[in-house]
Symmetry: C2
Subunit: 292 residues, 2 copies
């Protein structure tokens, strides 16, 4: 347990240094553009994706410096998606990680641009990685596929479409979980695999998809029963907005049961991987029982 906390903190701290270096070099004009990008990048994210990437890199012996820009690009893409998702016309959330959302601080116009800026900067970073070789190109391609229309954006679109949709069923919910959330949690595991020549590619991809779905499932449970002070964002929104969630479809108990089953599935997948997967095992437990 404490070993997990130490390793998580260590990975997160290493990523913070990479991010800090990136932010310190961000000197674009006008100032409000750089400020709005940095605001959301440094607004207390848990750095789950970079941590997962570093942990997978450790498992597969990928040198850290080969991962840094991919970790950064992943976090930039994740952050842009939160900024756009919080916009009034999207999920309409004025709080994120206990702080005012980007659009509350900088206005909706600047928030749209801050999101566009983070995404474009991530893509520039990925293209520059491509000079290093075909493995990097494949890794960049995988990440953008996870972030794009056959991944995260498809999931967000479906999420929006099925608000207040009484016909929303388990199949649709599975599509939303996989695409909106799980794919961007799969990329951090698959990228090190691609850079390591495809080692444990299928296992890590499957694990990512399942722990990603578990992440969204527990998110929905927390939205239902969590409280603002622990979560740092509004709760009870899913129900008010008629979102298609596991809680809406199966009730709170049904959602909890499904989370248990998904957790078991994650652990089962890890059995197929040789080497020290204790960090990922513990991660499954933490995601399953998280309160924030």
């Amino acid at each position: 347990m404490s070993d997990f906390n130490e390793r998580f903190s260590q990975y997160a701290a290493e990523f913070e240094a990479v991010l800090e270096s990136f932010c310190s070099k961000l000197d674009c004009r006008p100032q409000i553009l750089a400020d709005s990008m940095k605001y959301s990048l440094t607004a207390g994210g848990k750095r789950v994706r970079p941590v997962m990437m570093y942990a997978a890199g450790g498992l597969l012996s990928v040198p850290r410096e080969e991962l840094d820009n991919f970790a950064l690009a992943t976090e930039l893409i994740h952050t842009y998606s939160l900024i756009h998702d919080d916009l009034p016309e999207m999920d309409n959330d004025d709080f994120r990680r206990g702080k005012p959302s980007n659009h509350v601080v900088f206005g909706a116009g600047n928030a749209v641009l801050a999101g566009d800026a983070l995404l474009t900067t991530a893509c520039s970073m990925l293209v520059r990685e491509c000079y290093k070789g075909a493995a990097q190109i494949s890794a960049a391609e995988f990440l953008l596929d996870c972030a794009g229309i056959y991944g995260m954006i498809g999931g967000q679109s479906a999420d929006l479409l099925h608000e207040n949709d009484p016909t929303c069923d388990e199949k649709t919910l599975g599509f939303i979980y996989l695409n909106k959330t799980a794919k961007m949690l799969t990329a951090p595991l698959v990228i090190p695999s691609v850079l390591a020549g495809g080692k444990y590619y299928s296992e890590l991809k499957l694990f990512g998809e399942n722990i990603g779905a578990l992440f969204q499932l527990t998110d929905d449970i927390l939205d239902f029963k969590g409280d603002f002070s622990e979560l740092g964002k509004s709760t009870g929104k899913d129900e008010r907005e008629g979102k298609c969630t596991a809680v809406a479809l199966f009730g709170a108990d049904g959602a909890e049961l499904r989370a248990d089953m998904l957790g078991d599935k994650c652990l089962k997948i890890l059995e197929g991987i040789e080497g020290d997967v204790s960090f990922f095992k513990e991660l499954v437990m933490r995601v399953r029982t998280r309160r924030a």
Copy 2:
């Protein structure tokens, strides 16, 4: 003159075929995501950027098939920027090219996602080009720099910032023109140069920056004096919204004079390029005297 029209139509038609093929393969879920992307992609754009890229490719003898994906990525990025720019919190325009804006048809949430989707898809396309070699990577890098925080997004941010700013001066205006508009008109000329080993790189870059500024300058003039039926979008908005434009700074006559001078500069730059630049010469005249 008629030779210009023929060549423009020919290039545009060739690009339409490329775009049509792209659209026909776009089968992402949910349907509204694909529909909203296609709506703006096929809503009557003039295809200025692809046409310029094909014309520059012709000048430098770059095979057409090497340009198609770059032309497509450029048009996708341009289209995403229009969708986000038209949003209520940005430029707030309900019409684009004579048709209702994306957010009017699909709602603001879907419009945000359609823009994100076009940008991410363009980036995926660019990364896949990178397998072909270092020249393609450089070309992709150049395009994303033009589209990013040191290019278009920086210009849009400055444009937003200086609304109703009485201190906006010629230097700021130059920054907005160069970044908001000119850089994305420079990329179509520089990309063929990069693919041709850097031939006429400086000349084409400089020409792009200047014809791009001329494009924005005439856009501002048209916003001031044009009419909706010819333009297909609202007019008089710049003044109502206190935009920093050449008309606001120098008056209508001063803006016209500057447009003449910029046009002359463009023609002067073309003198430094050997080969048939007649298409670009005529393009300068058309941009200078355009009514839509």
